[in-house]
């Protein structure tokens, strides 16, 4: 599908979203920026890219930038999206590393970080609720989602293994056929 999104526009949005997504749960910030606010893609498209990014080996933020960037603007889109999410963080982290190995963490920093981490959980919660409506459309989708959640979350099973099994089961349940 061809979308009217220019490279500078894409790079700007990925850079900002990358910079503003602090405290973990970065996929939620990208969902908010690309799907909720700009409507560059639909929820189900986002989730497909998100799952592909998780299924393939590699850090998931960079993989997500690549799958989303590629969907929005092909190879150049993927390349710029990747650089946009990595380079600013690398610069900031190097600066922080210099300070850290010189001085160490202060109690103020720790308190700030704890408050932000809590807020990110709130953001993720609301994002998950928004994602549910278009995805959990029938019983098999609900069973797959709940099963994946339970296995990876409370049961602490090996994520890679769970992904392979639940993706295989889900594909089988969604297989094309006369009934589909």
């Amino acid at each position: 599908m061809i979308r009217p999104i220019s490279l500078p526009q894409l790079t700007r949005v990925f850079t900002w979203t990358g910079i503003l997504s602090i405290g973990g749960g970065r996929a939620a910030f990208f969902y908010e920026a690309l799907v909720v606010r700009r409507r560059w893609l639909r929820t189900d498209e986002f989730l497909q890219d998100y799952t592909l990014a998780q299924l393939l080996p590699g850090p998931n933020v960079s993989n997500l930038a690549i799958t989303l960037g590629h969907r929005l603007a092909g190879l150049p889109g993927a390349t710029w999206a990747l650089l946009a999410v990595i380079v600013p963080g690398l610069v900031v982290l190097l600066a922080l590393a210099t300070v850290y190995f010189g001085r160490g963490l202060t109690p103020t920093t720790v308190a700030l970080m704890q408050g932000m981490a809590a807020a990110v959980v709130g953001l993720l919660l609301i994002t998950s609720v928004r994602l549910m409506r278009p995805v959990l459309v029938n019983v098999r989708a609900i069973v797959i989602a709940v099963g994946t959640f339970a296995a990876v979350g409370p049961l602490h099973l090996n994520t890679a293994l769970v992904l392979l099994v639940s993706a295989a089961v889900s594909v089988w349940l969604h297989r094309p056929g006369p009934r589909a």
Binding site: L47, G58, P59, V135, G153
Partner: protein, 173 residues
Amino acid sequence: MSDVLRMTWTFLWLSLLCVGGGVGVIPEMQRQVVQNHQWVTAREFVDGYTLAQLTPGPNMLIAAFVGYRAHGVPGALLATIAMFLPTSVMTLVVADRWRRWRGHPWAGAVERALAPVGMGLMAAGVYTLARSALHDVLTIGLALATAFVLAARWAPPTLVVVIAGLVGWLLRP
């Protein structure tokens, strides 16, 4: 083999273990960079992960932190490239093939099938983060207040997160 090469190689194969989110690779990474090669201490590793979490960009930039400690800025750059480049190329190739298979009935089935899996994974991510981030009334209250403000769309997420950090700092006994 020089230590720089050994470090680059270590991050390269660690990147291949990052399946379904970076947190899963943390135990093995700690074993490599703390116990086996002593590039950082256990304490530095935990603090580095926290800083990477706080910093914009992927948490796996922890590689840059370790690389910096071990071999300065060149070490940080090499560790980052090893962590991100090979897997990025792999993802790009698969994503590209995927677009071409689109018209196939099985491709549509796979796409519909992956959405609920992603939904479940995301919920599991919330669960895991919540277990480590919400440990008292203050943090639970901040999380609920954030969800409420964002549901009402009163402010963009980053602003809410920063304000929550400040509130957490002010109310901390």
